[in-house]
């Protein structure tokens, strides 16, 4: 095998691809860390600006404008730069996952419902469509090609050259011959993966090793799956070309076509309503709330008699801010069922993809890789749940201060967001299922090829 130029071509190609992927991923990770740093800095500088400005207004060096930082409403919704920052895992360099689509630093304001659609990094949609060349991509798409390239001519090649009969004239069974031939190939691919694992392990802190181990467990299971599939094909009758074509078609089907079909199935079976509907609903709700403003205010002051101003008139003498608040609350209440429908359907989609991903090893591996690297939907969901809780804290902090209309100076007391990482064990448990499924399939394939070898006549 070492004398075969194809082997060296495959090896060099594999190494180059992995290096490019690693560098690429690491650069993206450091870019996202810049984003997080910029967010933290922005947060601090907005506070500093507010304090300076308030000082100047207090000392009469500057007239108070609409954007007065001493007003809790203005500060909370307009001047504050408040972010919920999702820290990067050290493994983010291995899998870009959803991190190019979803935010690393989510901007929050008390008056606006948090949404994962806010604060995503600006990115070229064309590039989002194409995807990135990261290590997960190299393992998912290129490794199967390397495995196929190394092994497609395993038995048929010998048969075509006529050397198979010669070899089997030795005291050797077909099975052991096959095992002897496939083993060095397994070692090459395994060696590549191990080298990659060693480099990655050196680059990440020890605390991240469990996740790293899981990541490589997936990579290994995935490679084993493709070895199994390749073995099943090459132990069948037929010539090298037939085997190569079959394997290429299998690769195309499993990695490129099946995931798109799964995507289609999910969108068809559990369609998410169009966001156009949401826009129209929110416009209608705003109109409605504006029309009913004076009733809304009446009800509001019945609930909060202490806040009611002395004046009267169509708006009960309420100021702009109270009006805003009351209207926004109503709009939010009206939209809640519409938004719930979206999240309900999305959750159903999520559950469906959790089942259907087992149809395609590529889809299975991609979601497991992203999960292990902390760039998958599971971690963003986990993050967003905390964001929601934090957002209600934020409201709890601002709302009484806004309504009391007292001078606001508590810029530094705004509760800050502290992300709590998910337990590694639950991540590992989730992923082990995927690893198990890949290994099971690989075992099935091995069994098939072993049976095929037993049945085969020797030449």
């Amino acid at each position: 095998m070492l004398r075969d130029p194809a082997f060296w071509a495959v090896l060099v190609f594999g190494i180059v691809a992995l290096c490019v992927a690693l560098v690429n991923g690491e650069r993206w990770r450091s870019h996202l860390n810049d984003v997080r740093a910029a967010a933290a800095q922005q947060d601090a500088s907005a506070r500093a600006v507010a304090r300076t400005m308030a000082n100047r207004i207090d000392r009469g060096q500057q007239p108070a404008s609409v954007f007065d930082p001493r007003n809790a409403f203005v500060y909370g919704d307009y001047l504050m730069s408040h972010f919920a920052i999702l820290p990067a895992t050290p493994l983010a360099a291995l899998t870009v996952g959803q991190s190019d689509l979803l935010p690393s630093a989510l901007p929050l304001a008390p008056g606006r419902q948090p949404s994962l659609a806010d604060g995503a990094e600006p990115e070229n949609p064309h590039r989002l469509l194409i995807g990135r060349f990261d290590t997960a991509f190299a393992v998912i798409y290129l490794f199967p090609l390397l495995i196929i390239g190394l092994s497609y001519a395993l038995l048929a090649g010998e048969r075509e050259r006529g050397t198979l009969a010669l070899l089997l004239a030795q005291p050797l069974t077909l099975q052991s011959l096959f095992a002897g031939k496939i083993l060095p190939r397994v070692l090459v691919i395994g060696g590549l993966l191990l080298a990659l694992a060693a480099i990655s392990a050196a680059g990440v802190p020890i605390a991240a090793w469990p996740r790293l181990a899981v990541w490589f467990a997936i990579a290994i299971a995935y490679a084993v799956f493709w070895f199994g599939l390749t073995a099943t094909v090459v132990t069948r009758r037929g010539n090298t070309s037939t085997h190569a074509v079959t394997l290429a078609a299998a690769w195309l089907g499993l990695t490129l076509l099946l995931p798109t079909l799964v995507n289609l199935a999910i969108k068809t079976m559990v369609p998410v309503p169009s966001r156009i509907e949401l826009i129209l609903a929110s416009r209608a709700a705003t109109d409605q709330a504006t029309a009913e403003r004076s009733q809304l205010l009446g009800a509001f002051y019945e609930d909060h008699p202490d806040l009611a101003p002395a004046g009267s008139g169509p708006n009960h003498g309420a100021d702009f801010i109270t009006l805003q608040l009351v209207t926004a609350q109503r709009v939010e209440r009206d939209l809640a069922p519409v938004l719930a429908r979206f999240s309900h359907q999305l959750a159903r989609q999520r559950r469906l993809v959790e089942k259907l991903k087992f149809l395609s090893p590529a889809l299975l591996a991609q979601s497991a890789f992203a999960d292990a690297a902390g760039t998958g939907s599971a971690r963003y969901d986990w993050f967003f749940e905390q964001v929601r809780a934090h957002h209600s804290d934020l409201r709890g902090f601002f709302e009484p201060r806004v309504l009391s209309k007292e001078m606001f100076t508590a810029w530094d007391d705004v509760p800050s967001f502290n992300y709590v990482e998910e337990e590694s064990s639950s991540v590992v448990a989730r992923i082990m299922l995927a690893v198990g499924a890949l290994l099971c399939a690989a075992f099935g394939f091995s069994l098939l090829s072993w049976l095929a070898l037993r049945r085969q006549s020797l030449v």
Binding site: N24, H31, D34, V35, A38, A39, Q42, F83, Q98, L101, A105, A117, G119, E121, P122, E123, N124, P125, H126, R127, L128, L129, I130, G131, R132, F133, F137, L145, S241, A244, V245, A248, A249, L252, L256, P259, T260, L261, V262, N263, L264, I266, K267, V272, S274, R275, I276, E277, I279, L280, R283, D287, Q349, V353, L356, K357, L363, Q366, S367, G376
Partner: protein, 465 residues
């Protein structure tokens, strides 16, 4: 003679089990992609139209209110979808579907469909474009790799050439035969596509469809010629297959990602959080509009031949609002350019990379003709922004022209709202799209020519061994 060879090649191919399987799979995929695409298309077009009409009505019927409140109320512009978009949705999953046109802010489009999708979305949609760009080339390779190499291995090539058959006739015959076999797949596919298009409409995309068909024929022609060329030159069919599969994998799979990442290295985008902070700072810079305000006020004083502002028969709040907007246009223009110029440079580089990989060429042209590339998304946002500016001008002029006494309020009514024409987006003409992709088209034609030459010379020098 050529006809005989072509007939033999054709019959051999269609009797081949591999061909039948491939044809069945390709057709099944195409039908799936067409049906799914058409289904979404019909829904989307209907929804978009209804929503735009509803929004427009909402604007006109907003009742009597302060004109500036109306400007804040604004209008949503929904991005319409061209008919061919269902063949290749392009960047649509990653661009927003609507933009809110309001006072003071040039908003970005919101609600990217990919945000409402699962991880499977990142693998892409099952579309006609995917089948034609990736699957059919593989089918061509599978069917054609042993056209010559196989005959050579079986020794039949020597027989053929020994009876005095010219190598080029053999090549032409084989080309025609395989092309005819492929036409058996393409024929029903085109028929199906045409029917779907006729059924769903909206009409008007015919020219785009025809050009799309031409582009795809060019692209698939490149693969057919390359396959024949490599097959004619390879000593064994196995070598031919490996070379062709490697080219296919690099072209369809590796090239887009590598070139895209390379383009991003060359033309990086600004970092988002700091970018937004700088934008906000520039927008709220009080020095910005103040000079503009002073000059315009002076201009008005001069025009009305008065010296004091309070003598003007105008409400200067209207001028101040318009000046604020004009300053905002400048700032937004500058910042969005900082954001989109590198994106356009990235896309441009990907288009030029068609010189190396035809896949990048067909991808760009296909999205362009389908109306789903970045340039056409940008064109929509440009039109929406133009509408916003026209609307604000009407509103602010009205405020300017209606001076109010202290404590009084001026209200706009239906007549004022009706001065703003309805938002109607006209998609760019095919000529505009073609001029964007002229170089890519040339590169694709060059690829086609080179591949044909390669096949021709390969066939001319056909060696029996």
């Amino acid at each position: 003679m050529i006809a005989t060879i072509a007939r033999k090649e054709f019959i051999e191919l269609i009797r081949d089990g591999r061909f039948r399987w491939a044809a069945a799979i390709v057709l099944a995929l195409l039908v799936t992609a067409l049906l799914a695409g058409a289904y979404y298309q019909r829904d989307l077009v209907k929804q978009q139209r209804a929503a735009q009409a509803a929004e427009q009505a909402r604007w006109y019927d907003q009742g009597s209110k302060n004109p500036h409140s109306a400007a804040h109320y604004g209008l949503y512009a929904f991005k319409p979808r061209l008919a061919p978009a269902f063949l290749d949705p392009g960047v649509e999953p990653y661009t927003g579907i609507a933009v809110w046109l309001e006072a003071h802010k040039q908003n970005e489009t919101i609600f990217r469909p990919s945000e409402d999708a699962t991880v499977a979305q990142r693998f892409g949609d099952m579309t006609v474009a995917l089948v034609l760009q990736t699957v059919v080339p593989l089918v061509i390779i599978m069917l054609g790799f042993n056209t010559f190499a196989g005959e050579r291995e079986r020794g039949t090539l020597r027989q053929l050439l020994s009876v005095g058959l010219r190598a080029r006739d053999l090549a032409t015959g084989k080309l025609l035969g395989s092309a005819a076999a492929l036409a058996l797949i393409a024929g029903p596919a085109i028929l199906l596509g045409a029917t779907t298009i006729a059924l769903i409409g909206p009409a008007g995309g015919e020219l785009r469809f025809m050009l799309l068909a031409v582009a795809y024929l060019l692209y698939l022609g490149i693969f057919l010629f390359l396959t024949l060329a490599v097959s004619a030159r390879s000593s064994s069919s196995r070598l031919a297959l490996v070379v062709l599969l490697a080219f296919w994998a690099v072209n369809c799979l590796l090239a887009p990602r590598i070139m895209s990442d390379f383009a991003a290295e060359l033309h990086p985008l600004p970092e988002g959080v700091a970018f937004k902070a700088r934008l906000q700072a520039a927008l709220h810079d009080p020095a910005g509009p103040s000079i503009m305000m002073r000059d315009r006020t002076a201009e008005l004083l001069h025009r009305y031949r008065v010296t004091r502002e309070q003598d003007l028969p105008l409400n200067l709040a209207g001028l101040s609002l318009q000046v604020g907007e004009d300053y905002g246009y400048e700032v937004f223009g500058k910042f969005y350019n900082e954001l989109y110029a590198p994106m356009e440079a990235q896309v441009g580089l990907l288009q030029r990379a068609a010189a190396l990989f035809p896949q990048l060429g067909i991808q760009a042209i296909s999205m362009g003709l389908a109306g789903t590339d970045l340039a056409q998304h940008r064109d929509f946002t440009r039109a929406a922004e133009e509408h916003r500016r026209a609307e604000l001008k009407v509103i602010n002029d009205d405020i300017l022209e209606h001076p109010v006494k202290a404590g009084d309020m001026h209200f706009g009514d239906h007549d004022l709202w009706a001065k703003v024409p309805a938002f109607r987006y006209q998609a760019p003409a095919v000529g505009w799209v073609l001029s964007n992709h002229a170089l890519t088209f040339v590169l694709l034609v060059l690829w086609f020519g080179l591949a044909a030459c390669f096949a021709w010379t390969g066939a001319a020098r056909l060696r029996p061994l």
